[in-house]
Symmetry: C2
DNA sequence: TGTTAAATGTACCAATCAGTTCATTTGGTC
DNA sequence: GACCAAATGAACTGATTGGTACATTTAACA
């Protein structure tokens, strides 16, 4: 960050010299806060610890985000907006039904596996009954499009006689998500109880293939 | 509880009269603590709050469980031992393969749906990287038998030409668990993001059927 | 160059929280 | 009924924690 943490070191007492960088400070705080919330949850995270790991001070956290929950909400919002971007980047409308579903399931699985932070934050938020998702305007207007994309590909599959009719698009989404999410969210407990590491490379590829296969078997006539 | 919370009310100051009931006090603390940990997580739960809701005092929490983590661990251990009991009560060895798997999937789904407390505690524990599962001797020696039961039924199915070979018993378990777990764990966020209540009766029966169907399709040749 | 709003640092505080100290009571045993 | 370990209550504490008050600096602009 551009803020000179050095200044306060050199000058023993009075003069603190720094450069203003509102956006940089904001991003810096958000980045550190995300790590802390991901690691310790909302109640477990400490504002002092976040402040300490920041290039700025606790004062700025409250200046920009109001309070601890405001900071947490901001982290959550940023994360969901990234998901939205990820979804938009996924173009399955131009693919044949089976390929579309394969791609969707594979990408969803990979996104979860590669972003355990996302999974953990969603877990934290669910522990809190998604109270903060509920009170966030930014998230309320987000309009995740996954379901629409799925419905479109599914209906093409049904029309082509490849998929059996009567399945809700939401159920397709829930099945993919469940398999992808669980693989990350419950890694630690599965490891302890069964001595199996779902995060290991071989385990991941096997589970990824299983997820795709499971989805296709669910859809096929 | 047999402890006379009344006594301290009647006598203004000095004499506190009560009946000793170690096991009752222990159970009382555990029950209240479970609710608090389930609702607020490990970091979010307050020892004072637990004590206040108990028929006994904070003193006894530390007397019996050492510290907050000790209490949490005890709650966790008790819960896992109940799961163990549930598993043992499930006799699928005497059923034909398809019926065995159907029963297993249905029971697993129902257990999760009917015990959201269990799901939430596992979530909490996973947020903490299952550190407490790791340090619990009682849980280490628990030996959950689900995998063995699944393997047995699966192999009978393969032998009978009903199931395709080459599937790991663990993968079967993970698939069932993922579908059952996710349906409870992510209820709040799904509700906020998609406006869909996975806890609603119709949603549950539909999802239950989908889980069983998904599993059978995964297994069939 | 003087003025001002935005941005930032430092020190502090009141409340909360996990854990403890001290003292008392209960109930079994000899 | 004297004795003592187990069980319990009530009040207390040192440290932590979210949040603030106060003062200062920066940078844009008149």
């Amino acid at each position: 960050m551009s803020k000179a943490a050095s200044a306060s070191k050199t000058t023993g007492r009075k003069p603190a010299s720094w450069t203003q960088d509102p956006e940089g400070v904001r991003r810096n705080i958000l980045a550190v806060a995300k790590e802390e919330f991901v690691e310790n949850g909302l109640s477990g995270a400490r504002v002092d610890e976040i402040a300490a790991r920041t290039a700025t001070s606790k004062r700025m956290i409250y200046y920009y985000f109001g309070d601890k929950e405001g900071l947490y909400r901001a982290v959550l919002e940023e994360m969901y907006e990234r998901i939205r971007g990820f979804e938009r980047s996924l173009d399955i409308a131009s693919l044949p039904p089976v390929e579309a579903m394969t791609l969707l399931a594979g990408f969803t699985f990979d996104y979860h596996a590669e972003n355990p932070d996302f999974v953990r934050l969603v877990m934290v938020e669910n522990i809190h009954h998604a109270r903060h998702l509920a009170t966030s305007d930014r998230i309320a207007t987000l309009n995740l499009s996954a379901i629409d994309m799925i419905r479109e590909a599914y209906e093409r599959g049904v029309a082509a006689g490849l998929f059996r009719p009567g399945i809700e698009a939401l159920d397709i989404h829930l099945t993919i998500s469940a398999l992808a999410f669980y693989n990350v969210s419950n890694r630690a407990s599965i490891r302890q109880v069964f001595g199996h590491d779902m995060g290991a490379p071989e385990a991941l590829v096997r589970r990824r293939a299983a997820a795709i296969d499971t989805l296709l078997r669910m859809l096929r006539v």
